[in-house]
């Protein structure tokens, strides 16, 4: 063995190349369909967000932050908007936001049903779990290579790398949330005559909601971090600003891009987290809150004491 000089060789590289060739020769229509579909979704969100006059969009974000989180956070949102405009990176922020929303939505649309399937079937869980583990241990830019090979450069491969990278938490936490629903709740559903889909929609999913929302939050946060990285394959947006800063050794520009990402991350995180707890009252709407601030809300909830 020693004399043979370690020239023992497993041609993994060759195999992969063969595989890639095969996919490119045989699955092109499928790849194109995926690309077109994603492109459509991404452009739709970009167009939607860029359709609003910047000030209006900023105002809407501030309102959402105030309504979902509170007035302090509303103030933070105002500050963030001012900074984003002031640094001149509003447009990049919007592009990033659109890409995050589009890829998160697709990730959730695929990930949540997989999570449900895992929760309802132990075999599916057995198969999916190691795949998820693998996905979560891979460094993020590993996803860029196959995405670029199959889909070239631009927003679509960026979104694909992003949605694959961001999907695992949604899958895991949907599975976990459903499995954590107490036996007696499930039994109650069955004992009153639920079919299995009624059990899912009327009992399991509502009770798993806090966990599923936590998964959604994590997916969105991962999507944001991946979208920034995906600027390396031309996804654009704030990542581009950072990348340009690095390439030109322009510390200021790099910092501005980074700050934009951080601000967006905080906004997305707090707002999506606010959906995470089961609300017993369908929380007072914005109008009611405004009214109660004005001190004119007559029917402040009072809890009747037993007897």
């Amino acid at each position: 063995m020693a004399e043979s000089g370690m020239n023992f060789d497993i041609p993994i590289g060759d195999w992969v190349e063969t595989g890639v060739d095969w996919i490119q020769n045989n699955l092109t229509p499928l790849l194109d369909a995926i690309a077109d579909g994603l492109d459509l979704i991404i452009s739709a969100f970009e167009d939607l967000l860029l359709f609003f006059p910047p000030l209006l969009l900023a105002a809407l974000i501030v309102l959402l932050a105030t309504w979902r989180v509170g007035w302090r956070f509303g103030l933070f949102a105002v500050g963030a908007m001012v900074l984003l405009f002031g640094m001149g990176i509003w447009e990049e922020t919007v592009v990033t936001l659109a890409l995050v929303i589009a890829s998160s939505l697709v990730a959730l649309a695929i990930g949540i049903p997989i999570g449900i399937a895992m929760a309802r079937n132990d075999k599916v869980e057995m198969i999916a779990r190691p795949i998820l583990d693998l996905m979560q241990t891979m460094p993020p830019f590993v996803y860029l290579i196959p995405a670029a090979i199959f889909f070239g450069l631009g927003k679509v491969p960026g979104a694909i790398a992003t949605l694959i990278f961001a999907m695992p938490p949604a899958v895991r936490l949907t599975n976990l949330g459903i499995r954590q629903v107490s036996t007696e709740h499930v039994e109650a559903g069955k004992a009153f005559g639920c079919t299995s889909s009624q059990l899912l929609f009327k009992v399991q999913l509502p009770l798993a909601m806090p966990s599923i929302m936590a998964g959604i939050n994590q997916t969105i946060m991962l999507a944001l971090s991946m979208v920034v990285i995906a600027s390396m394959i031309g996804a654009g947006g704030l990542g581009n600003t950072v990348l340009t800063g690095i390439q030109r050794l322009n510390v200021g520009l790099g910092f501005e891009g980074g700050l934009g990402v951080v601000l967006l991350a905080i906004l997305l995180d707090r707002i999506t987290q606010s959906y995470g707890h089961i609300r017993t009252r369908s929380g007072p709407g914005l109008v009611e809150r405004l009214r109660s601030w004005a001190g004119r809300n007559p029917d402040t909830q009072t809890l009747r004491s037993p007897n």
Partner: protein, 399 residues
């Protein structure tokens, strides 16, 4: 009671949990016990060889220590747990042979369930929770609401219809659980330790409420409990489970007076027997002479009492309804008057006790009066009397 029809008949029912149910069944047939079978096969005997019937309209309590198979047994009745062997008949129909759809229909219309942890949906209002079974069954919204509100009114929670479960106390939450079960108007209620999570005061309150609910609108109730006081309070009959087997079935009195074995006896170690029995259970109708008012006059009654050397007699009407108690002295006094009216012969201040009265209450009455206490049923019919001797005998027998 015994001539009411059987609602549920359980025949040779087994549940084996774990990897080797067939092997376990063979070992069971060879007479091995639960512990030995688990040691040999890692398989748990949940319920074995259960055979009994539950009558329409009765509260059937299943009692036993933790792990004795109570929950498994009750869950086989609505097939939340599939029986390993045996059959269950509901109104003569074999539940174990039902298809999926038939099973769902049965759960929607024939049986509902109340859980120890309440198992309410936190994101739904009290009324929506109460309407859950109706919603699942596809009842339309308006009617759902009406039926839910009616059920909530039955448990006294109507004012809270639009609150959320987490705004209610434990006792109130379980009332919602009960209302949810009542709302579907299913004739059978399965209640697995329904009151065990409540604190003692609320628990007794709920027990009393269940009993009064039964009086108004009887359901066939299978009630799981590990508490003998509870079982006695609400149960028409009690089944005692040990290690997956039903070791005794009987009325509370039967269980307390003739426990089948030491396991059963251990349950009422320290139980207050005066709560087990009520006045009707121990009243004796042999102790006094009974006169039917229309057939005998006062003078004849006096003569009879004196003939037999008795001091007291009871007077009833033609329908056997209690009228009054007489003594030699009062009869003699009344006989002196010319009218010789029965009413004048009744001993004043002797109040009949209702048959349902707790012995503890009877005890205090007996202690404060020199006469025995006549016992009447809810139609006023004479059941017998209780005196100090009878009472002491009863208390003595059971301690």
């Amino acid at each position: 009671m015994s001539d009411t029809p059987d609602k549920l008949v359980i025949e040779d029912l087994y549940k084996i949990f774990g990897p080797a149910p067939d092997e376990a069944m063979t070992l069971l047939d060879q007479g091995l016990d639960k512990t030995e079978i688990f040691r040999r096969t890692r398989t748990t005997v949940g319920v074995q060889k259960a055979n009994f019937s539950i009558r329409e309209g009765e509260v059937f309590v299943v009692m036993g220590l933790s792990g004795s198979g109570k929950s498994t047994l009750v869950r086989m009745i609505n097939r939340l747990i599939e029986p390993t062997r045996g059959r269950i008949f509901l109104d003569g129909v074999d539940i174990t042979a039902m298809s999926k759809d038939e099973l769902i229909a049965m759960r929607r219309h024939q049986m509902s369930m109340v859980f120890q942890s309440f198992a309410l949906l936190p994101h739904k209002t009290v009324a929506e929770n109460a309407a859950f079974g109706l919603d699942v069954a596809g009842v339309d919204g308006q009617q759902q609401r009406e039926q839910a509100i009616t059920a909530l009114a039955t448990v006294g929670l109507e004012p809270y219809a639009d609150s959320y479960p987490d705004e209610l106390s434990g006792g109130m939450r379980q009332r919602v659980g009960l209302a949810r079960a009542l709302a579907t108007e299913a004739p059978i209620l399965l209640m697995d330790e329904a009151f065990s999570a409540l604190d003692p005061l609320i628990r007794t309150e709920m027990q009393d409420e269940l009993v009064s609910l039964q009086d108004k609108k009887p359901h066939t109730i299978v009630f799981i409990s590990h508490d003998l006081d509870e079982a006695i309070r609400i149960g028409d009959r009690i089944a005692i489970m040990e290690g997956g087997s039903v070791v005794q079935i009987g009325t509370p009195e039967e269980i307390v007076t003739c426990p089948a074995n030491d396991y059963v006896r251990s349950f009422f170690y320290g139980v207050d027997v005066s709560k087990v029995f009520n006045a009707g259970d121990i009243a004796s109708n042999r102790a006094l002479i009974v006169f039917e008012r229309t057939g005998v006059n006062v003078r004849a009654a006096l003569a009879q009492l004196q003939d037999r050397g008795r001091a007291l007699g009871v007077v009833t009407d033609r329908e056997n309804r209690y009228r009054g108690m007489v003594s030699v002295n009062t009869l003699a006094a009344a006989a002196k008057g010319d009218g010789a009216h029965w009413d004048q012969a009744f001993i004043p201040d002797v109040e009949p006790a209702p048959a349902q009265m707790d012995l503890s209450e009877v005890l205090s009455r007996v202690a404060t009066t020199e006469y025995p206490i006549p016992v009447v049923d809810d139609q006023g019919k004479y059941r017998g009397i209780i005196d100090k001797t009878i009472l002491l005998q009863t208390l003595d027998k059971t301690t």
